[in-house]
Symmetry: C5
């Protein structure tokens, strides 16, 4: 049976760049920038010390709450959230079923030929590689589940770092404004400077509100949502690789995967 | 028995256009409009850039939190919430019991004649059609339950989109006001412009408060309430269609439906 | 045995008009009225458009969240909360035990003579009537439990209507104040009008705070408390009527009732 | 055996007056008083109508939420919280073990001689009295548990009264300030009175913040803490009295008490 | 076997000084100090009475909520949190496995030689000492678990003290500002003093916001995090000492420890 290996055509899992995050961020900042540039003096809105107090203060206080490693990891996770490609769980399930069918028909070793075409999905690639190397199904499942769990934990930690930043940045804005107000009120001899001084004092409140509401809180919500979605796709890959490793019937795998997928996304590969 | 099919008169399920949503929205906006028009300069209250910042900013930030598809779906759901027709669960139960009685007396195929008269209730129509086509009761229940679950999930997602909008719109109002205040304070040379500039700055706060308290939060509360109500009516339809498909005694169906309905809405069709 | 029916003297259940609600409402409003009348210009505090915006707006927005029927029912429930008569659960238990003892000694039909004297307690009256009519104990319990559950649900809905009103009325106050401020700031040419205009603008905030803190939130808390208390008394009546219907020994009923009552209110009727 | 009763010396349970509550209250009010007296015009801070609105209004509104009896009981409980004597649970356990040992060696009736020396602990006194009177252990436990439960419930109710007061007093402060502001703004003809009028208006906000943060919220937290502590000591007394009533071996009682006490407070009376 | 005791080289458990807490605290305060010193009059920001009101008031009010002992303990715990050395749980597990292997090969008494080299880990030292003294495994586990539980409880109490301080310090800031405002408004005769007086009034709000957001809330979050981490390392030590005391196979201990560690930190000492 292993002689007549017909390289199966493996489509890539449909993966759509998640435009919502970037669209949202760009339009929100665009609207504010437009409102500022249409006003009289756009340069009033840029004040380096104010930026330092709000951004630096938020980072400093959040660092106190966590460890340096958790902070660094959060920034990498945020980058991945912004340029996140959302994968369709149904599509991932169909992909897995095709690989399982191929393993059933041509033997597990034939999967070696498709390892190259699934490199875009590292988690699936890792699972199939283990199966090809002869790792038993139970162990494949145990190792992949451990990886998945570690990823979910890491994302949950990053979500809570972002939430804390969203809590602390308005507080930093308030503290900056209080500093500005006290400085201004302590020197009222030049009444003409009251306006500009107060404008500068309000800037930190503005920065804090923008950071919390445009960046930290929405990214925390998005990261949580993506983490759930990714865990679902990864569960599909894990159950697929384990099932191939256990040399089960692909029809049974379809049943297993459907019990995992939400009703509207169930697949009917074998009819 | 199938010869003497007497077309049973099938009343439509009593369905009352839910006037509370529209009444509430119209009177709230009417009161505010009256307060503005009775004041001195109603035109002060219209400022396109302010509308753009609050409405656009809220949409942009909420989009960051979700996906484009979830945003689009929410707007369709909101439209349905505003023009929602509330159906009486007892009435739906009686309707289902009449159909079950007809199926019992004249055979399941006789239901073909009434399919036309229940088209106003698509979920019931779908269930009865499957029964007429000979789908077994268990499968009818499984398919309908899956549909129901998917609908409830979709509504829950839309509710949380509306809640997030209700959270972000006052924040956008604050950000807009801060922009206006900083611009005004940076140019205090013309004291006569302070008043109007501040009026414009406050407009975004006003828009944000109105959007959150008149639109987003009440609609989120209403959508949640309607979703629960609709799920109850759909459960009645599902249990009815499944029971007819299983050719059960309609008296047993009545008992099942009553265990589902709240005490004050139980029905006594067979006495 | 039924011949020598001695009409048992049935005391009325001690029921104290709950003065706390009225005392609280009257003193709170009295204090505010005094503070206003002792000030310089009490008439400043009455402004019909402001009342309309806050009261009307709160009603309108809450109507959007619920249905017209739920709104109407809440107003009836509020009236009952204000003039609520609190009944002592121990006293209700003793009352029930005396009726049970009478039914034991003189037969269930003898209870017909006391139906008149318990009309002040409609729920107990209903239960005893059913027992006299020969309804079996299980059915009496089922019907009364259904009634009780429906009442608790209705009160819970009304509580949440009041809570939402308590949330929305300060928001309406803020919106009214923002309207007033924008109107005032748009017309700064007459500096002498700033004060009075601002006074009027602040009135809606004042109305919103008073409505929420004097009326909606306290009444919601009180309604929740009364609903729990009433459910306890009604449980006592339900268990009593059911026990009489089942012709159980009143000593067993005492044990059942004591397991229901809080430790400090347990009764010792049979010693 | 009862002849040679050697009156056992019963130390009093170590009970330390809880100085934290009084220290905290006195220093907080002392600091504020110092800040006021060091300022220019301390008399500005006393304004009888403002005190009436905030204190009276808070009492009135909280009364609406509860019943008159619950209000009265809260004030007694607060007094006991302020002058609370904290008892050491380990010490109470040792005390109970000594009494149990004495009962074991000299018989239960010998406990009559020590009733006088434990009068400072009414709950223990009540339990031992019942045992001396021959009440069986099970009944002693049932009665004491009922008392304990009623006390915990009463404290929980009082805690929630204090919490509500802590919520309503800042709201009353705001309402008072709004009244003052509206009165001041309605009479701007004498500019020289603006300052003092506004000072008076702010006083209610000040009173509300002080009452909530110095009195109501800390006392609610303390009462909750004390109630947990007292329930632990009372459980020790209850288990001790019940064990003596059951004539159990005191070593078994030690084991039971240690399972109740937190690890750091376990006792080793019999080694 | 005990003759050829080869002193095993016991590495110290890798323990990294947790720089995040100090880095965060120093940079946050550094940024604020820089913003103040770059401004015009840094001395305006130091006002002893304001510091007393906010710091003293927060301490006083929090003392009311807890006992003097709990307050004192919190300050010791905070010191330990700031200079916390984070230990790697995997490393602790390997350390424990090496000791277990040594005990297996050279006998339990041989552990006496390494007691000195593990003094830096008091909890491990205590466990191994008990084992060397011949305490049975079950008792070692019971005693160590009790210690661990008491530590976790103590940290939880300290976390809640810090949280309450983070709640009360902004309230104290507000109260201080209100005192300042009332004093200033009561003496408006010297208009030139308004600015500086208001600057001083705002200082307490500033202090309250800085204390809560720079110190109390971040330290509470950090303490909670460290407590969880320390409990994990201590569980490793407890299970290790108990296993050695029970003279179990170290391979079984490895399995036990891995079930305790998060997936990414599992160890593979015996391969």
């Amino acid at each position: 049976m292993a002689e007549d290996v017909v390289p199966l055509h493996i489509r890539r899992v449909r993966s759509v760049m998640d435009l919502a995050t970037i669209t949202g961020l760009v339009s929100a900042f665009g609207l504010v920038a437009a409102a500022i540039y249409l006003g009289s003096s756009p340069s009033t809105f840029i004040n380096v010390p104010s930026v330092l107090i709000v951004v630096g203060g938020t980072l400093a206080v959040t660092t106190t709450c966590f460890s340096l490693r958790e902070m660094g990891r959060t920034f990498r996770v945020v980058m991945k959230t912004v340029f996140h490609s959302s994968r369709d769980p149904s599509d991932a399930a169909i992909q897995v079923l095709r690989i399982a069918e191929m393993a059933r028909k041509q033997g597990v070793l034939a999967l070696q030929n498709i390892l190259g075409s699934i490199q875009a999905e590292p988690f699936l690639h890792k699972g199939v590689s283990m199966v090809v190397d002869g790792t038993p199904g139970e162990e494949v499942e145990a190792i992949m589940r451990r990886d998945m769990y570690a990823t979910v934990q890491r994302h949950a930690k990053s979500t809570s770092v972002l939430r804390k930043m969203g809590e602390f940045s308005p507080a930093m804005g308030l503290i900056g404004t209080l500093i500005g107000l006290v400085q201004m009120l302590g020197n009222l001899n030049h009444p003409s400077t009251i306006g500009p001084a107060m404008a500068v004092a309000l800037l930190t409140t503005f920065y804090g509100a923008v950071l919390a509401n445009f960046v930290f809180l929405p990214l925390a919500a998005k990261l949580e949502r993506n983490s759930t979605e990714e865990a679902l796709v990864n569960s599909v890959y894990m159950m697929g690789a384990a099932s191939i490793g256990r040399q089960e019937n692909p029809r049974r795998l379809e049943m297993l995967l459907n019990s995992l997928l939400p009703p509207s996304q169930r697949v009917h590969y074998f009819d």
